[in-house]
């Protein structure tokens, strides 16, 4: 009956009797939304450009190395798994500077935060979801090239046990790096609702200490005070990571003269890293205590 099929019914307001999944589900939803957002998914085409380019730039050297290793039948990969992220630090720093403000300061700038806190999720859930999302995004960015290297190494029939060990060490290293850097970058961007300022501040904090520490380390190396190099490394996030993986993850240090920290000093490095992570998390919680309604 055609007359029936063309009728428009005004069904009026319908109540919702379905499930309400509560806090944990909302936190997971916020996590996945933020993680997707960190790669521009679910957002405008324009916001996909930068993260995708950086992702490509991050993976390209790995692909080239693999191609070279396979073609030349080399005995080893040109770069250690643990060194890869350190070499490409500029790329992931840029990624963090772009995406950390995107992850948190949008909600602050457009005052969307009160809408979250007027719902079942709590302050802690919000901070955890955002932190986990950015750390995961950074982990994807730094771990995928390692995976490329590993798969390539196996294709080039390099020693399986050796490569697997290196790959595992690399994964642990980038996981720690992701959590540390995501925390620092998030805290900096949560302090300022202005996105441009956040970008500049994140770049500054990630690069300036590294430049300063490297310079002073080089001077110390020239003057033969090698003992100071290890201690100096504590003062920038990247040299911190370098020190941790040199001491515990079998990496070759990028410090001048390859004078990475000893195991004893390595413990200090790990403690500083953990303190920074805990501090960033506590700082974020504190930041959102006042960002309520």
């Amino acid at each position: 009956m055609p007359a029936d099929s063309t009728q428009i019914h005004n069904i009026g307001y319908r109540h919702y009797d379905g499930q309400r999944l509560g806090r944990a589900y909302a936190t997971r939803s916020l996590f996945s939304q933020s993680l997707r957002g960190a790669y521009g998914l679910g957002r405008s085409a324009k916001s996909k450009v930068l993260p995708m380019i950086l992702f490509g730039v991050m993976c390209a050297p790995a692909l080239i190395m693999v191609a070279v290793a396979v073609a030349t039948k080399a005995n080893d990969l040109p770069v250690d798994y643990t060194r890869y992220a350190i070499i490409l630090q500029a790329v992931f720093s840029l990624y963090l500077a772009a995406q950390a403000p995107q992850t948190v300061s949008r909600d602050l700038r457009f005052k969307t935060v009160p809408l979250y806190f007027s719902r079942p999720i709590e302050r802690v859930d919000y901070v955890r979801a955002k932190y986990a999302a950015l750390a995961s995004a950074l982990f994807i960015l730094t771990a995928v090239p390692l995976l490329v290297l590993y798969v390539g190494a196996l294709l080039a029939k390099l020693d399986f046990a050796d490569q697997t060990k290196g790959f595992a060490q690399g994964l642990v290293s980038v996981a720690l790096l992701s959590v540390l850097f995501a925390g620092i970058a998030l805290l900096i961007s949560a302090v300022t609702p202005r996105r441009g300022l956040g970008i500049a501040a994140v770049i500054a904090v990630l690069t300036i200490p590294y430049g300063a520490v490297s310079t002073v380390q080089a001077i110390a190396h020239e003057q033969g005070s090698g003992g100071a190099i290890g201690w100096l490394g504590l003062f920038s996030p990247i040299t911190l990571m370098d020190g941790v993986q040199t001491a515990f993850l079998g990496a070759t240090s990028a410090f001048p003269g390859k004078e990475g920290p000893s195991t004893g000093l390595g413990v200090v490095y790990v403690l500083v890293v953990l303190a920074l992570i805990a501090g960033s998390y506590a700082g974020l919680l504190r930041r959102y205590r006042k960002a309520g309604l």
Partner: protein, 363 residues
């Protein structure tokens, strides 16, 4: 059934007392919360959402204690903030779906409810466009939609008509009314414009300086009276049409009064008691005989503002006689002390706002 109940609820900050032993019960329906800026409206909403603990006293929303069951309250309550809260680079649909999921709705239900809710608040094709390009009226609708998307039992609307033009304001008020009548959701709406609440609310609560000034149903405030308000034009023959009409009505044995209320058109409005149908005919005939134009003839209702005018005068008197300060008066337990001078000033501006509000009185 009580939707919101507070019991000597106090909120003290180091320098300010935002709420001072506020006790009230609010039932289902549309309730207006009136107060000047800084009267404690936002603080009250924050406490009722279980987001900040009160210094003293208790409050319950939908029978749940705000101090211990904030999470469960927030699951069943919607909140529309006063300020802008929408990111400009996403569409209304995406934004509201996300907010629905934040309220705990599964993905499929979130999408379905979003489509429904946006339709109910009057957003159609534009909901797929980024919010940045919306008008203020459309943004207010999105804000309302995100508060309703999880089908709450109660919504808090903080100044929902802020920044809207008269037409947008009317539409928003009608929408708020529908939230209760059609959707069956109770509403607590804040405003500093009495005229608005008069039109939408079943019940009005007035707070000032964190204290309850008055709580009663809107009909108590604005009972329809038998008073008839008549406004006429002037003519060459009668340069003062109002006076001429008054004199002519006096001649027919009908007592008239000035509109001394200071409300719109005061001085040009003749008030008289309508005895029945024939009074209307009489006025019509008298006006026609005088050759004047009849601008309007309507049943007068009391306005909420009038309730405050008495308070206004009382406070002004206090100020003139150099009465003791507010705090002292309160300490002495004098009931008049409830009305601060700030309230008086505000009532005056509220009345003024109503005058300029136009249109509203010409109903």
């Amino acid at each position: 059934m009580t939707v919101i109940a507070t019991e000597s609820l106090s909120m003290r900050f180091p320098r300010v007392t935002a709420l001072d032993r506020l006790s009230m019960d609010i039932g289902p329906g549309v309730t207006g919360l009136v107060g000047a800026n800084g009267a404690g409206k936002s603080t009250l909403i924050k406490i009722l959402l279980g987001l900040s603990p009160a210094t003293e006293g208790r409050a319950a929303v939908l029978g749940l204690d705000v101090a211990t069951e904030g999470g469960r309250i927030r699951e069943r309550v919607g909140y529309m903030p006063e300020h802008d809260c929408l990111p400009p680079d996403v569409s209304a649909t995406e934004f509201v779906v996300h907010m629905a999921r934040m309220s705990g709705l599964p993905p499929a239900a979130a999408r379905e409810r979003t489509a429904d809710t946006l339709r109910h608040v009057g957003l159609y094709e534009e909901r797929y466009r980024p919010i940045g390009g919306y008008s203020t009226g459309m943004k207010q609708r999105v804000k309302l939609a995100q508060a309703l998307v999880h089908d709450p039992q109660l919504v808090f609307l903080d100044e929902p008509t802020n920044g809207l033009d008269p037409v947008g304001r009317d539409e928003m008020l009608a929408l708020i009314r529908r939230v209760h009548t059609d959707f069956g959701i109770s509403v607590l709406v804040t405003s500093h414009l009495l005229g608005e609440l008069e039109r939408t609310c079943d019940h009005v609560v007035v707070i000032d300086g964190g204290k309850l000034l008055r709580s009663s149903s809107t009909t108590d405030f604005t009972q329809t009276t038998a008073t008839l308000a008549v406004e006429v034009t002037d003519s060459d023959e009668h340069p003062d049409g109002t006076a001429a009409l008054r004199a002519a009505l006096q001649g027919r044995g009908v007592a008239t009064q000035d509109d001394g209320g200071g409300l719109p058109g005061a001085g040009h409005t003749v008030l008289l008691e309508a005895a029945g149908e024939e009074t209307y005919d009489l006025v019509r005939d008298v006006v026609a005989d005088l050759g004047l134009g009849l601008v309007r003839m309507e049943q007068r209702r009391h306005h909420i503002a009038e309730v405050f005018r008495t308070a206004d005068n009382a406070a002004a008197d206090n100020a003139e006689t150099g009465g003791p300060g507010e705090n002292q008066r309160a300490a002495q337990g004098e009931p008049d002390g409830q009305v601060s001078e700030r309230a008086a000033a505000w009532a005056a501006t509220a009345a003024a706002a109503e005058k300029t509000g136009g249109g509203r009185d010409a109903r």
